[in-house]
Amino acid sequence: MKIQVLLFGPQAVITGRDRVLVEVDGVAPTPASVKDALRQALPQLAATLDQSRLAINHQYTTEDTPLCESDEVALIGMVSGG
Protein backbone atom coordinates (compact mmCIF):
# COMPACT_ATOMS: atom_id res chain seq x y z
CA MET A 1 0.00 0.00 0.00
CA LYS A 2 1.27 3.46 -0.95
CA ILE A 3 0.98 6.21 1.66
CA GLN A 4 1.65 9.88 1.10
CA VAL A 5 3.30 11.57 4.09
CA LEU A 6 3.39 15.36 4.49
CA LEU A 7 6.65 16.93 5.70
CA PHE A 8 7.13 20.27 7.46
CA GLY A 9 9.72 22.58 8.93
CA PRO A 10 13.35 21.45 9.12
CA GLN A 11 12.39 17.97 7.93
CA ALA A 12 11.00 19.48 4.73
CA VAL A 13 14.17 21.55 4.36
CA ILE A 14 16.54 18.60 5.01
CA THR A 15 14.79 16.41 2.43
CA GLY A 16 14.00 19.20 -0.01
CA ARG A 17 10.34 18.15 -0.23
CA ASP A 18 7.01 18.76 1.46
CA ARG A 19 5.56 15.29 0.83
CA VAL A 20 6.79 11.80 0.07
CA LEU A 21 5.09 8.67 -1.18
CA VAL A 22 6.20 5.54 0.65
CA GLU A 23 5.42 1.90 0.07
CA VAL A 24 4.22 0.09 3.19
CA ASP A 25 3.38 -3.59 3.54
CA GLY A 26 0.03 -4.91 4.71
CA VAL A 27 -3.65 -4.10 4.42
CA ALA A 28 -3.69 -1.71 7.38
CA PRO A 29 -0.16 -0.57 8.13
CA THR A 30 0.66 1.28 11.37
CA PRO A 31 2.49 4.57 11.96
CA ALA A 32 5.47 2.54 13.17
CA SER A 33 5.72 0.84 9.79
CA VAL A 34 5.30 4.18 8.00
CA LYS A 35 8.23 5.51 10.01
CA ASP A 36 10.31 2.49 8.99
CA ALA A 37 9.42 3.15 5.37
CA LEU A 38 10.37 6.84 5.77
CA ARG A 39 13.70 5.83 7.25
CA GLN A 40 14.43 3.79 4.13
CA ALA A 41 13.11 6.27 1.62
CA LEU A 42 14.70 9.38 3.16
CA PRO A 43 17.82 8.49 5.19
CA GLN A 44 18.27 12.23 5.98
CA LEU A 45 15.33 11.88 8.40
CA ALA A 46 16.92 9.05 10.42
CA ALA A 47 18.33 11.33 13.12
CA THR A 48 14.98 13.01 13.87
CA LEU A 49 12.43 10.24 13.29
CA ASP A 50 12.52 8.91 16.85
CA GLN A 51 11.47 12.28 18.26
CA SER A 52 8.81 12.73 15.59
CA ARG A 53 5.20 11.68 15.67
CA LEU A 54 2.75 10.83 12.94
CA ALA A 55 -0.54 12.67 12.71
CA ILE A 56 -3.46 11.03 10.98
CA ASN A 57 -6.22 13.35 9.83
CA HIS A 58 -4.81 16.19 11.96
CA GLN A 59 -4.51 14.22 15.20
CA TYR A 60 -1.50 12.67 16.83
CA THR A 61 -1.75 8.94 16.79
CA THR A 62 -0.28 5.97 18.61
CA GLU A 63 2.30 3.77 16.92
CA ASP A 64 -0.13 0.87 16.46
CA THR A 65 -3.18 2.64 15.02
CA PRO A 66 -4.07 1.02 11.68
CA LEU A 67 -3.98 3.37 8.71
CA CYS A 68 -6.47 3.65 5.85
CA GLU A 69 -5.53 4.64 2.32
CA SER A 70 -7.75 7.74 2.53
CA ASP A 71 -6.04 9.09 5.67
CA GLU A 72 -4.09 12.34 5.57
CA VAL A 73 -0.76 11.37 7.10
CA ALA A 74 1.80 13.89 8.32
CA LEU A 75 5.17 13.62 9.97
CA ILE A 76 5.37 16.11 12.83
CA GLY A 77 8.85 16.67 14.18
CA MET A 78 11.22 19.39 15.35
CA VAL A 79 8.32 21.72 16.11
CA SER A 80 9.30 25.17 17.34
CA GLY A 81 6.17 27.20 17.98
CA GLY A 82 5.84 29.77 20.73
Binding site: L6, F8, G9, P10, V13, A55, H58, Q59, Y60, A74, I76, M78, V79, S80, G81, G82
Partner: protein
Protein backbone atom coordinates in the same frame (compact mmCIF):
# COMPACT_ATOMS: atom_id res chain seq x y z
CA UNK B 1 -2.98 34.28 12.46
CA UNK B 2 -4.27 31.25 14.22
CA UNK B 3 -6.75 32.56 16.73
CA UNK B 4 -8.70 30.27 18.96
CA UNK B 5 -10.48 31.84 21.91
CA UNK B 6 -11.94 28.99 23.87
CA UNK B 7 -14.43 28.71 26.69
CA UNK B 8 -17.13 31.14 27.68
CA UNK B 9 -16.98 34.61 26.13
CA UNK B 10 -14.95 37.25 28.01
CA UNK B 11 -18.19 39.06 29.00
CA UNK B 12 -19.36 36.07 30.97
CA UNK B 13 -15.89 35.25 32.25
CA UNK B 14 -15.40 38.71 33.70
CA UNK B 15 -18.38 38.15 36.00
CA UNK B 16 -16.42 35.71 38.14
CA UNK B 17 -12.79 36.25 37.19
CA UNK B 18 -10.37 37.29 39.90
CA UNK B 19 -7.19 36.94 37.88
CA UNK B 20 -6.47 37.71 34.25
CA UNK B 21 -3.01 36.87 32.94
CA UNK B 22 -1.71 37.80 29.52
CA UNK B 23 1.47 36.29 28.14
CA UNK B 24 3.29 37.65 25.11
CA UNK B 25 6.07 35.77 23.44
CA UNK B 26 8.32 38.26 21.69
CA UNK B 27 10.82 37.53 18.92
CA UNK B 28 14.25 38.22 20.35
CA UNK B 29 16.85 40.06 18.39
CA UNK B 30 19.30 37.22 18.17
CA UNK B 31 19.54 33.46 18.04
CA UNK B 32 22.72 31.56 18.85
CA UNK B 33 24.49 34.92 19.02
CA UNK B 34 23.56 35.87 15.47
CA UNK B 35 21.48 38.97 14.70
CA UNK B 36 17.98 38.29 13.44
CA UNK B 37 15.75 40.28 11.16
CA UNK B 38 12.84 38.17 12.39
CA UNK B 39 11.33 34.70 12.27
CA UNK B 40 9.06 33.06 9.74
CA UNK B 41 6.43 30.79 11.26
CA UNK B 42 4.81 28.05 9.25
CA UNK B 43 2.14 25.69 10.46
CA UNK B 44 0.33 22.55 9.45
CA UNK B 45 -2.89 24.36 9.30
CA UNK B 46 -6.02 22.55 10.12
CA UNK B 47 -4.04 20.58 12.66
CA UNK B 48 -2.41 23.60 14.34
CA UNK B 49 -5.78 25.21 15.02
CA UNK B 50 -7.11 21.90 16.27
CA UNK B 51 -4.15 21.34 18.62
CA UNK B 52 -4.39 24.84 20.10
CA UNK B 53 -8.09 24.27 20.70
CA UNK B 54 -7.43 20.90 22.31
CA UNK B 55 -4.69 22.28 24.55
CA UNK B 56 -6.90 25.21 25.59
CA UNK B 57 -9.89 22.99 26.34
CA UNK B 58 -7.82 20.53 28.32
CA UNK B 59 -6.31 23.30 30.44
CA UNK B 60 -9.70 24.97 30.93
CA UNK B 61 -11.00 21.72 32.34
CA UNK B 62 -7.92 20.84 34.39
CA UNK B 63 -7.55 24.28 36.00
CA UNK B 64 -11.17 25.42 36.00
CA UNK B 65 -10.42 28.37 33.74
CA UNK B 66 -13.07 30.89 32.74
CA UNK B 67 -11.39 31.91 29.54
CA UNK B 68 -8.47 30.84 27.37
CA UNK B 69 -7.37 32.67 24.24
CA UNK B 70 -4.37 31.58 22.18
CA UNK B 71 -3.14 33.54 19.18
CA UNK B 72 -0.06 32.42 17.27
CA UNK B 73 1.38 34.39 14.39
CA UNK B 74 1.98 32.87 11.00
CA UNK B 75 4.43 34.19 8.45
CA UNK B 76 7.13 36.77 9.10
CA UNK B 77 7.38 38.32 12.56
CA UNK B 78 9.98 41.03 12.99
CA UNK B 79 12.21 41.12 16.10
CA UNK B 80 10.58 42.80 19.13
CA UNK B 81 7.17 41.88 17.79
CA UNK B 82 4.79 39.43 19.41
CA UNK B 83 4.55 35.95 17.93
CA UNK B 84 2.37 34.36 20.60
CA UNK B 85 -0.32 35.79 22.81
CA UNK B 86 -2.03 33.79 25.53
CA UNK B 87 -4.76 35.14 27.76
CA UNK B 88 -6.10 33.16 30.70
CA UNK B 89 -8.81 34.15 33.17
CA UNK B 90 -9.63 32.28 36.37
CA UNK B 91 -11.36 32.91 39.66
CA UNK B 92 -8.00 32.88 41.41
CA UNK B 93 -4.39 33.58 40.62
CA UNK B 94 -2.75 30.20 41.27
CA UNK B 95 -4.72 28.18 38.70
CA UNK B 96 -4.32 31.01 36.17
CA UNK B 97 -0.51 30.98 36.47
CA UNK B 98 -0.24 27.18 36.56
CA UNK B 99 -2.47 26.91 33.51
CA UNK B 100 -0.35 29.41 31.64
CA UNK B 101 2.78 27.37 32.30
CA UNK B 102 1.09 24.11 31.26
CA UNK B 103 -0.46 25.58 28.12
CA UNK B 104 2.87 27.02 26.97
CA UNK B 105 4.66 23.71 27.61
CA UNK B 106 2.04 21.79 25.65
CA UNK B 107 1.95 24.30 22.84
CA UNK B 108 5.72 24.05 22.42
CA UNK B 109 5.53 20.27 22.47
CA UNK B 110 2.40 19.59 20.41
CA UNK B 111 1.49 22.49 18.13
CA UNK B 112 2.58 21.70 14.56
CA UNK B 113 4.25 25.07 14.11
CA UNK B 114 7.78 25.72 12.89
CA UNK B 115 9.93 28.77 12.83
CA UNK B 116 12.90 29.58 10.68
CA UNK B 117 15.27 32.47 11.20
CA UNK B 118 15.68 35.37 8.81
CA UNK B 119 19.14 36.69 9.55
CA UNK B 120 19.76 40.41 9.68
CA UNK B 121 22.33 40.12 6.87
CA UNK B 122 19.54 39.24 4.43
CA UNK B 123 18.32 42.51 2.99
CA UNK B 124 15.04 40.92 1.93
CA UNK B 125 13.05 39.26 4.68
CA UNK B 126 11.24 36.18 3.42
CA UNK B 127 7.49 36.68 3.69
Amino acid sequence: MIDRPVGPMPDEAVEVAGAVVCFRGVVRREESGRQLEGLVYTSYDPMAARELKRIAHRAAEQFGLLYVGITHSRGFVRIHETSLRLVVAAAHRKPALSAMDTILDELKRDAPIWKRPVWAENAEPIR
